[in-house]
């Protein structure tokens, strides 16, 4: 029994990290309709921010969040206004905007990565913060990873409540469902989309800071985060906060279970097997709306 509860807890903690990295992307892709390929680069940029606040100015990463998150929000808001608004304006339909935004953010990816390479070089970075054991129901977990899970749950829960219980949240969901009709009912699409995109940016900033406490990163490691986030977002259903949370946690538990019960070599295989199964069974994702 302890083995199973251990698997469940360790899996939740790993899955919390996956969910955390995916929440911002699902907001950006699901609501603002921007398939942001430079997502992982911004995550790594936030990690560098945390690293330098910690090692350079002795600001601990939790306090660092207070600086990095608003900064990331602002940077993404500007990115939307300057780079993405022209694409939104000239897009004749949803498909066109998706293709254009993929191309544009692909370019942004190289710009951000290039700047980081110039500033920090290609080498790996890693520091240690809150890497202390804590015993939960008989399982030993690392505090920093547990913190990432807690943030994922808080952010995911808060966003869910915001989207379902508030007027602005309802407006955002309306945009996600039908941008034209939303506009006709008096919603300022551009302002709301910019807000959603920037909010996604704030979340990716938080994810970058939290993850830097326990993962080794370099200027080149952003693509890996984008890939994993994309899997979680598509599996959970584009634009669904609950979907991203559940899909992320599921992947974490599945990977840990396979690793402990069968073979650690199969963890990547199980990720993709689950992904495929979810898509075959529910092509729009676990919590996705049926295709329009």
């Amino acid at each position: 029994m302890t083995l199973y509860s251990d698997i469940l807890l360790s899996g939740l903690v790993l899955g919390g990290m996956y969910a955390l990295t995916a929440l911002g992307l699902t907001l950006q892709y699901g609501v603002a309709r921007i398939m942001n390929l430079s997502y992982g680069e911004f995550l790594v940029a936030a990690s560098f921010g945390a690293l330098f606040l910690y090692t350079g100015a002795s600001v601990n990463p939790i306090v660092g969040l207070l600086l990095v998150v608003p900064l990331s929000f602002g940077a993404h808001w500007l990115l939307y206004q300057i780079v993405l608004t022209p694409l939104v304006r000239r897009a004749k339909h949803q498909g066109m905007l998706e293709v254009d935004s993929i191309l544009a953010t692909f370019g942004v990816l190289f710009v951000v990565q290039g700047v980081m390479l110039v500033l920090f070089g290609g080498q790996l970075y890693s520091y240690t913060y809150l890497s202390i054991p804590i015993s939960v129901l008989g399982s030993t977990l690392a505090v920093n990873r547990l913190l990432a899970l807690a943030f994922a749950l808080i952010i995911g829960g808060a966003l869910y409540l915001f989207l379902t219980r508030t007027r602005s949240g309802t407006a955002l969901r309306a945009i996600a469902v039908n941008p034209t009709a939303a506009q006709l009912s008096g919603i300022d699409i551009r302002a709301a989309s910019a807000l959603a995109f920037a909010a996604g940016g704030a979340i990716v900033g938080a994810a970058g800071v939290l993850i830097s406490m326990f993962l080794t990163f370099s200027a080149a490691s952003g693509v890996g985060f984008t890939m994993k986030a994309l899997i979680v977002v598509i599996m959970g259903g584009v634009g669904s906060m609950a979907g991203a949370l559940v899909a992320g946690l599921m992947l974490g538990i599945a990977e840990t279970a396979v690793s402990r019960l069968i073979d650690p070599g199969l963890t990547i295989a199980v990720t993709y097997a689950l992904f495929l199964a979810a898509l075959l069974w529910r092509p729009t994702g676990l919590f996705g709306r049926p295709a329009r």
């Binding site: 290039g114 290609g122 080498q123 790996l124 080149a220």
Partner: protein, 410 residues
């Protein structure tokens, strides 16, 4: 009339002759009086290999070029003066096709005198036939392959400097066997490895070697490249209660394994992790926690040459070099310089011969290649105090005594 014609004709001849002479003289001058030695390299500044190349390879190229140029350059006896190094650099974006294009371009377009190797086993093996066809010496320092004997026979311009995977594993197995004989550790070993060429080659060799030596492998698993959570693997390894834990891992996994072992309080008598243990950032990250951790590589940090080199590298680059391939990379460049100076002119065939046959004085001590390979390589190092000291092969001069059992995590 005829006189004028003759005059014009002869003027022309004079003019043509003068131009021809001028061209010839300029040509002769450039052939005989080069103003620099052009050295090119193609290195991964971006992409997945940038992490390794920017620790082990590129900084050493930069330090060496600066050192040579600060000393006036490389002495060429044939013209009786020192020539500074001029650098041509390309980024191969961690892509073997880009790297080969860049190497070809260095030889044919930039017409460099020497080409320094790319980073990693894969890129060096891909580059080997190209270097050979172009006739350039190939100092494949960061390549680590069991086919070294065969390859250096096929391509005499190719030299290896980091030992063979089998030799690295042998060093580890011999060390563990000796520790067992001395009664410091028992039979049980837990082993994990990354599931790619490096991890598979090393773990296969280790599995054979450990079984032959009579060890008991209580845990033996591989994990996928890029795994972000080492807890499942380590919890199961810990449950088998091994005397020794060995991991053939890459830098991010090496850090994660150490970090997680610390969190779990998993402290076997021998804790050995793979690539990255020899990085100064390992000590930076774990501080006193690094004490007693073993890993791949190591250097004889008591040698004055190595000691000075570490300080010098830090002064120029701003951070310390790694303690495995970095000192050897710098030493290989010293060998190149000495070989050029002994030959005294840019005669690449003669320089290749000298690299293979000569004896050289370097920061890591005397270097004499055997079958195109540097053999006095360290297999296992251990963090002891502030440095990562070589402890195996333990019979090799300069090896320190290992600290076993490993002290508790700090």
């Amino acid at each position: 009339m005829t006189g004028t014609l003759l005059k014009i004709a002869s003027l022309r001849i004079v003019a043509v002759g003068a131009v021809a002479m001028a061209i010839g003289w300029a040509g002769m001058a450039s052939a005989q009086e080069p103003t620099s030695i052009k050295i090119g390299w193609s290195i991964s500044k971006t992409g997945p290999f940038a992490a390794g190349a920017s620790v082990t390879t590129l900084p050493n190229y930069q330090v060496w070029v600066k050192d040579v140029n600060d000393a006036g350059g490389i002495m060429l006896k044939s013209i009786g003066k020192k020539l500074p190094i001029e650098v041509v650099e390309y980024d191969d974006r961690s892509n073997s096709e880009e790297m080969i294009k860049a190497v070809e371009r260095l030889a044919t377009q930039d017409k460099v005198d020497f080409i320094l190797p790319p980073w990693s086993t894969g890129l060096n093996l891909a580059a080997a036939p190209v270097f050979n066809r172009l006739g350039y010496p190939h100092l494949a320092v960061t390549a680590n392959t069991n086919r070294a004997d065969e390859l250096t026979k096929r391509w005499p311009n190719l030299t290896f400097w980091l030992g063979q995977p089998v030799e690295i594993v042998d060093g580890l197995v011999e060390l563990l066997t000796k520790l067992r004989t001395d009664g410091k550790i028992g039979q049980n070993i837990a082993m994990v490895s990354v599931a790619d060429q490096f991890g598979i080659e090393q773990s296969t060799a280790a599995r054979d070697g450990l079984k032959k030596a009579g060890f008991n492998l209580v845990y033996d698993k591989s994990y996928p490249f890029g795994s972000q959570d080492m807890q499942p693997v380590l919890k199961d390894a810990q449950a088998t209660n091994p005397d020794s834990f060995i991991a053939f891992s890459y830098p991010p996994d090496t850090f994660a394994l150490t970090d997680t072992a610390k969190v779990l309080g998993f402290n076997p008598k021998v804790f050995y992790v793979g690539v990255g243990t020899a990085f100064p950032m390992y000590k930076g990250k774990f501080a006193a926690g690094a004490e007693g951790v073993m890993g791949i590589g190591g250097s004889n940090a008591d040698l004055p040459g190595v000691k000075n080199y570490i300080q010098h590298h830090k002064a120029i680059i701003g951070r310390e070099p790694d303690r495995w391939a970095s000192p050897i990379t710098y030493a290989s460049l010293q060998v190149l310089q000495q070989a050029i100076e002994r030959v005294g002119k840019i005669d690449r065939a003669a320089i290749i011969k000298e690299i293979n046959e000569g004896s050289f004085e370097t920061i890591i001590g005397p270097v004499k290649l055997k079958n195109g390979q540097y053999k006095e390589v360290w297999a296992v190092g251990q963090w002891q105090g502030n440095d990562f000291y070589a402890i195996a092969p333990f019979k090799q001069a300069g090896a320190r005594a290992p600290i076993v059992p490993k002290p508790a995590w700090q």
